[in-house]
Symmetry: C2
Subunit: 168 residues, 2 copies
DNA sequence: AGTGAAAGAGGTAGGCT
DNA sequence: AGCCTACCTCTTTCACT
């Protein structure tokens, strides 16, 4: 871990392809970046070992699962002690409605991305899961109308042929 | 699309396993939920066709790619016309720094999750990519200290054996 | 709908250039 | 380091229950 590896344009091509479709076969991946399958396997293994490539996951349609309503909750927690923050984080991650959690710098301490069945479910989540807790001083609920994901995550300045980077 | 399918506990097990590791082999997946590989293949195909399971993607370590600084930008856009919103969305999705984009109900219209190399990169992104645009009236930058992802996304009330659900 | 078997394709390791 | 080959496992189809 925290290992330093150099990513050349071939590695970046692999990264891009894997982010577009994590289930691509190694053979097809190798063909796409123009190397032999065995070489490709080695490249991917090294990027996995370095921590550049982490787990693969499928995207699931929240609406199709009966959770068509999504929201961002901006939460303020007091006091800002580890003894308070850590249990709060653990609690939020245990909630089945939680999709993502962000610890922020700013007036709002946390942003929680949640998916619920309906307005009643959202109300119950906010009241019972957040404002009921003594460390939570404020919750702002922002409904999500629509969401998009950005393109594949790549290094800044893609024109540079090879950079020494640190995995972490 | 928008097809109605029933998800039984076996389907939910498949969903959970695929969200934990999208690259699991079909054979291992079938063993995990206790069905034959051919049956498992059929289940996954139907969930893909129904839109419940969408594309698979690998998680990439932003810090390892030279983008260790992440932030949420709360953006206000005026006026709220499609002729204004659509080009703004297109612009944001084209930025290489964009990881996700959310259209919200509330005083802030959009939340943009971005990953940059350093504070200078963040400043340039905010100034050149957002406040420079005439439709953008305000940008609040919130640094992300740490982030977590929730568990596998599953239907509400998991005790119900089978529900009729709508993909979309 | 679920299964089992069989043909075909792909993954993976080792040695070589 | 990259590649080729050979083995071997897995995927996928199809007839059957």
């Amino acid at each position: 871990m925290h290992q330093s590896i150099a990513l050349d344009p071939t590695d970046l091509g692999i990264l891009r392809a894997l982010q577009n479709d994590a289930r691509i076969s190694n053979k097809a991946l190798a063909a796409e970046v123009g190397i032999a399958p065995s070489t490709c396997l080695d490249r991917v293994s090294r990027m996995r070992a370095a921590g550049v490539v982490k787990g693969a996951t499928v995207e699931v349609d929240a609406a199709a699962l009966g959770r068509p309503l999504q929201a961002m909750l901006a939460v303020r927690v007091r006091p800002h002690h580890r003894a308070v923050l850590n249990p709060f984080v653990g609690h939020v991650l245990k909630l089945p409605e939680t999709r993502a959690l962000y610890h922020l710098a700013g007036p709002d301490d946390f942003l929680v991305h949640v998916a619920v069945a309906d307005a009643t479910g959202l109300q119950r989540l906010v009241v019972d899961g957040f404002t009921a807790r003594t460390e939570v001083t404020q919750v702002h609920t922002m409904l999500i109308f629509q969401q998009w994901s950005g393109g594949p995550l790549l290094p800044p300045e893609p024109s540079v042929p090879a950079r020494r980077l640190t995995a972490g």
